[in-house]
Symmetry: C2
Subunit: 495 residues, 2 copies
């Protein structure tokens, strides 16, 4: 194995041109392909890159490690031809690029179910509340916890104001960037809240769902950058747009399930997408790149790597990446997130006047929501188990986890019908070899200001895509599409 | 390549016993070896593990990626048969295990040069001071900066008191562990100092040298754990022992250069150490492990992985590591550290009454010291360029870096003889493929309390060594040796 690998690379070093590289020198048994551009990863970022390049008349090969496309989007069949989303699923206002792509491939959206009351539980406080009406028009999906109301309002205003001064593409240039990047969100909350312990209790399930992390894990500057990214070039990002359903990032869903977008794009790309081809090594020299995957080797002029930064560390680069780029990818760990879903004959909570949404302290699920198909049949209640909850519940047996989740559903809603679903599944993204966590990278203190400039800086013929490299909606499907569009433009400019 | 790899693994899955695994199934051209234990990494941790196992009568193979042993220790020839250490070099009180190993292999120590005055520069403050005398007996190597004296004394006392309550093997169990792990050291300093901005200025070069990081990067709990580790089972760790020369971690050096210890251990292990063998894949099943390196495949009963946690992510494990162990290694990035060294005919600063040590704000070098051989010939002045300084200076041309360092030496010491060394070299550990930074992993907020329990927890037949897994003196040569001794004992208990 090693000998043939070395002979192969020795061969590439002397290659006279792109097409000459690798010819007759690929590892035994590996298919040798050539293209203008090779894309690593067939998630929404990589597929968008490829789609754009093909539209511009370029030849492209997409190498995907999994036996499927879609990356962090995944449709899970729940019977009767219906699906529930096991990965990223929501879209909302200002997420123009995912919405445009969905439209282009003929995929529609529908409103997430949001009629009725949400449930909120923190200690002895239990509230039923709506994001409509007078209070709802101010607080949106945030709970009107009397002990936290003032803090919620003032902290949100302060964060929105600070985020307005942050360019999500270059947060390291923001005012006070170095100081804000040297503290955690938890530290900032403790300094600015009246009821800090209550606010931190509330923030825990929110951050667990949003990032698979806790308020003490993330840099305050990175938090502001995330908020600043919850918009687009015309509309500044706000914290409310991150946490709201109505008018926010959880407003709509994809008809047919979010993975269908990737599937349709891949279908159009046809044989250009090679599955079961984890990339092991990327070699570049003055004349081109050689990307070696299990079973396939591609020679091309440019390469776009569209996978989570934490996974880029696991590819051998020859020559090595600049040290600072490698230090960056060492500092972009994935969040810890699991999705749990219970299926019932009907979404019976709707007739009880409930949206199905809850936000609770104590887990396992921090945030739950109605994830039923567009026609409301069957009923699906889904929830996020993130951060410390993921660490606790991810190591339990599937049976214990199911029991714990269903018992919580019944407890929170005070309705024992939740104990008896017709089906249940969960999807722990930390167990996925080709994602290693979800929903996105968690940026601790010091990373953005010291290493941030490397996040999308090309390295010779090597370009970066993936939602973590997006300016707006990094961490979301929309960010993935934006990053792919940017990477494609970047490559077209040099091809 | 892929085909043979797959066939090989398919073969292992059905193997009837350790010796049967891999026979006749190794990749073409790869040597097939068998042993009781295979050790990954020939740094001090891996070599100590192997030495202990061999002493217990076990057969061992050590696979090393580099063409040399010693890991983060490296002797650099400076002519005339003399060397200067380009990596870890100091030993001191309570570092019993590295001292015992040195003694066992017949290697001696000598006092680091510490006669005369140190130089300290912070803004317009320039001090010459000694770690002897009345003030020196209290402050040790810490500078008696009048504007910071009170803070230095009180913060040191507070940190030492807090560290006494931290078990360096289990810092997540310490009082207030979760709160202390949710803030950076910078945050804690801002909350507890009279002159916080001055203390942070002083801490920057100290942390840059100590960890290759900044006070805003590291968790306060991780800082306490590092301090708690600066001792042994009999003697609690203290901050003073971390920063002092006399009576501290910089007290002594190794005759012949620190790498000689690893070289002597490796020499005794002989052909058991295989160089140029980066490990790509580790497979384990009920009967044994198969470790595939470039050119060599080893079948064994147990495996000890003795490399930095950040590098463990880059090995393919089959079955996958538990998700939480992978999430931990995603969260243990290496520090950014470079060593720069200028060689002069003599250590001329000594006759001027200077130790050669300086601590300065502003870089490139934060902390410098006399690194001359035991006989003081030639003179070697060495310095650390870490953290943000590393990022700035690591991307300059070698000529610019040399000029910047020498100009700083001359400026700080007010002596232009520093501008004209007979030789100069620097070693940027971030550029090293098989280390990816130095001196050790940087623990940001949230890592120890959420993922810390995984740091040395075996995974089936897989055990962990490396200085990052040590209880005492993690990050130091002594920690590496301790970790190897612990891993060897762990393996012997199950062999």
């Amino acid at each position: 194995m090693t000998t043939s690998r070395r002979a192969f690379l020795a061969g590439t070093a002397g290659g006279a041109g792109v097409l000459a590289i690798g010819v007759g020198a690929q590892p035994a048994g590996a298919a040798a392909l050539t293209a203008d551009v090779v894309v690593v990863g067939a998630g929404l970022a990589g597929l968008t890159t490829a789609r754009r390049l093909v539209a511009a008349g370029k030849s492209v090969i997409v190498l995907e490690a999994r036996d499927r496309v879609g990356g962090r989007t995944l449709n899970h069949a729940i019977g009767g031809g219906k699906i529930a989303e096991a990965g990223g699923e929501f879209v909302g206002p200002t997420q123009d690029r995912i919405l445009a792509l969905a439209s282009e491939v003929g995929v529609g959206t529908f409103d997430a179910y949001d009629t009725g009351k949400n449930v909120y539980v923190r200690g002895s406080t239990r509230l039923l509340y709506s994001d409509t009406g007078l209070l709802g028009s101010v607080l949106g999906t945030a709970p009107p916890d009397p002990a936290l109301l003032l803090d919620i309002a003032t902290l949100t205003l302060q964060i929105d104001a600070a985020a307005k001064k942050v360019d999500p593409a270059k947060p390291w240039l923001a005012p006070n960037a170095v100081v804000n990047d040297a503290m955690t969100l938890e530290t900032w909350v403790r300094q600015h809240s009246v009821n800090a312990s209550g606010i931190l209790q509330l923030l825990a399930p929110f951050l667990e769902a949003l990032l698979g992390a806790e308020p003490g894990d993330v840099s305050y500057l990175a938090t502001l950058a995330y908020v600043a990214g919850a918009g687009n070039a015309q509309t500044p990002g706000t914290l409310e747009r991150l946490f709201n359903v109505r008018g926010g990032a959880q407003q709509s869903r994809i008809v047919g399930g979010s993975q269908i977008i990737a599937q349709k794009v891949a279908q159009a790309l046809g044989a250009r997408v090679v599955l079961n081809a984890p990339v092991r090594r990327i070699t570049q020299n003055a004349t081109g790149v050689v990307v070696e995957a299990d079973g396939t080797t591609v020679t091309a002029a440019q390469v776009v790597v569209a996978i989570p930064p934490a996974l880029t560390s696991r590819i051998d680069f020859d020559p090595l990446l600049p040290a600072q780029r490698d230090l960056l990818s060492q500092r972009m760990p994935m969040g810890a997130l699991m999705k749990v879903e219970a299926i019932y004959p009907t979404p019976f909570w709707r007739s009880a006047g409930l949206t199905g949404q809850f936000l609770t302290v104590g887990g396992p699920v921090g945030y739950a929501f109605d994830n039923s198909p567009p026609d409301g049949s069957p009923g699906v209640l889904a929830g996020f188990v993130g951060g410390t909850q993921n660490l606790t519940w991810g190591s339990k047996t599937p049976a214990d986890r199911r029991a714990g989740v269903l018992a919580q559903f019944a407890r929170i809603f005070k309705d024992n019908r939740f104990l008896s679903p017709t089906d249940y599944f969960d999807m722990d993204w930390t167990q996925e070899e080709w994602t290693r966590g979800a929903p996105t990278a968690v940026l601790g203190p010091g990373v953005l200001t010291k290493f941030g400039t490397w996040i999308r800086q090309p390295v010779g013929r090597l370009h970066w895509a993936g939602t973590e490299t997006a300016d707006f909606w990094s961490g979301y499907m929309d960010g993935a599409v934006r990053s792919g569009e940017r990477a494609a433009a970047e490559v077209l400019a040099v091809l």
